[in-house]
Amino acid sequence: MKPISVFIADDYEDPREILKKSLIDFGKQENLEFSITEADTYSSAIQVLEEKARQKEYFDIQFIDIDFTGDENRGKADSGFSIIEKAFQICQLSIILTFSAQFKSIKLHPVFVDLVKRGLVADAFDKNASIDNPEQWFEIHFRRIIKDFKENLFLWDIWENNNTILTHLKEHSVTKDQMANLQIFSEIENYLDTTLMLLMNRGKIGAEHILNRSLLQMYHRALEIFCEGDKSEKEIREIADKNVHAVAAIINKNDLKFTRDDRLSALHKIVAHSASPISKFGYKVNNYRNNAMHQSKKFDVDTANILFGSLALHLYMVPGVKPKIERIREFYNNNSKLSGAKDLKELMGYVSFQIN
C-alpha cells in the first residue's frame, strides 16, 4: 500500500508534534506508512491545499485545528472552518477530521455540527479526550478512521472517473442544442455528485438495500439521458431496431426484445446509442435496474453492481478512454463473493484488455 498522505493544520507546534508521533507509532503497529504535510498558519494551510490541487495530489486524511488565533497574521478563532470548506471544495473524498481543543464552544459548536451534517467533517479528534484513555485514545479512534479509509479506497477511482466524465462532457456536447446540452450536463453532474456523496456516507445511512437501489437508479438514469441525447423518439426506434440484432449477438441473447407496449424504454435508448461491444455493459445496467425495481425478481443490488454501473457510465460517456480501476480491483479482490462480482470482473477485464 502506498503511503497515506496526511495533512495537519494547527497553529501550535506541540499538538502537531504529538499527532505526528502518534501517527508514526500507529504506522509501526499497523504496518502503514504516512507522508505528513504540515501548516502552522491559516494562509499557509490554504496555500498547501491549493498547491496540492494544482499538482492533482490530494490528501487522504486531514487533521484541521479550528482556532488559529495563535497565527498572528490572519488567524481567527474559526479559521479552521474556512480551511475545511476549502479542503472539501478541492476534494470531497479526503477524510477531514477536526483537531481542536474547544470545538464544543458555544460559538463554534453549531458550525461544527452543520459541517458534520453536510458531510464535510468525518469526525472530531478532541484534544482533551486524550486524558480519558492516555495509552490508546489515538489508536482506538484512528483505527476506525483507517478502517473507513481502506473500505472506501475504491471511491477514489470513482471520483477520478467522474471528473474525467465531466471534463469530457464539457468538451464534447451530447446534443446540438446548447440549452438541452446544459440541462443534460447538469443532470448527469448532479447524479455523479449525489451517488459519490451517498457512497461516501453509506455506513451512516443504513438501509443498504434501498440505498443501493437508489444509486443504481441514478446511474441508470444518467446513462439513459446520455444515450437519448437529442434523438427524437422516431430516430431512437429506428436506430434501435437496426442495432438490436448486433446487440443481441454481443450479449448472446437471440431473443432480445423491447417492451411490447408502445412506451419508449431505456433499453431502446441504450441500444440506439451503440451496437459496439460496450452495449453489453449498458444492457446489463438496464437489466440490473429492471430486476431491482421489480420486487418479485428478488434481486439485491450490491456494491459490485454499483461499481459496475459507475464504470459502464464511463465507457459510454468517455469512449476509448480507460477508466481508473486499480482501487476498484482491490475492492473486487476483497469482495469477490458478492453476487455482482462476476460481472464487475468481466467489465474490468474489458477495460484492461480492450481499451488501449
Partner: protein
Amino acid sequence: MNEIEEIRKENERLKNEMRAIGQNLNNLLREKEIEVQRALTTNQNSILQAKQTSVNTETWTEAMDELAHAINTSIMVATSAIKDLPESQERSKAFTHIRQIKNYTELVLWDLHIRKGELLNSNAEPVEIDLVPIFTENITAIKEEPSVLRPRNKNRAAQYSEMKVVIDFPQKCPIMVPAELKNVFDLLFLELLKNSFINTHAETPHVRVAVKELPRSFEVLFENNKIMDEKYREWFMGKSADSSFDIAKSIKVGLRLVMRWTEILKVTRDVTIVTEEELTRISLTIPKVIQL
C-alpha cells in the same frame, strides 16, 4: 347684619378649606410625581442592571470558552508528555488529576451552555448508562489514588486506601441520559464519594453506598459516619446561601457542582442525619429517563 356676618365667616371658612384641599392636592401630586420619578429610575436601573448582567454573562461565557481552549490544549500536551514516562504510581496519579481538571472544565462549560439555552446537540438520541460501574470504578479510583481526597498525611491516605466501602446495589442500574451528558454522573458520584470518604470518623471510618430501584427512578445513598453541620446541610439543600461552615474547598467546589447539576438533571437530593449512630445520609433520586 348678623346673617351677613355669618355668611362672610362661612365664606371665609370655605375659602380656607378649599385652600387647604388645594394645598393637599398639590402635595399629593408632588408625592405622586416623586413616586413616579422614583419608579422610573428604579425601572431604568433594573433594565440597566439586567443589561449589565447579560453582558457580564456573555463575557464570562466567552472567557470560559477561551479558558477551556487553553486548558484543553494543555491537557493534551501534558498527557502526551506524561505518557512517555515509564509506568509508575506518580504517572498514574498525574493522569487522575489531569482527568479531574478536564471533568471540572467540562461540567462548568456544559452548565454555561445550558444557562444560555444552548445544550450541545440537543437533538441527539439519549444513551443508556449503567450507574453500577460508575460507583465501582470511582471507589476503586479513590482507593488507588487517595491523593484526590487531599489527605492531611500519609496515615490518612493509607486509611482511605484501606477503607472498606459497604456496597449494596442491584446488578444493573440503567438510566437514559442525553448523549452529551453521559459522563456527568461519573463526576457527581466522585464528588459525593469524596465527601463521604473525607467526612468519616478518624478512627472508625465508615462509608456505605446503596442503590434502591423504584418504579421510575433509582434512589442512591451515600452514607458516612460524621454528622453534617447544620449550616452545611442547609446550604447543600439550597435553603441557605451561607457557606461559612468549615469544609475543605475542594469538597465545597465539588458539592457546588453536585447542587447545580442535580437541579439541571431534575435529580432530587436529600440529607438525613441519624444522630444516635452519628451517620449522615445523602440521597439522590435519579429518574430512569433524564430529560432536560
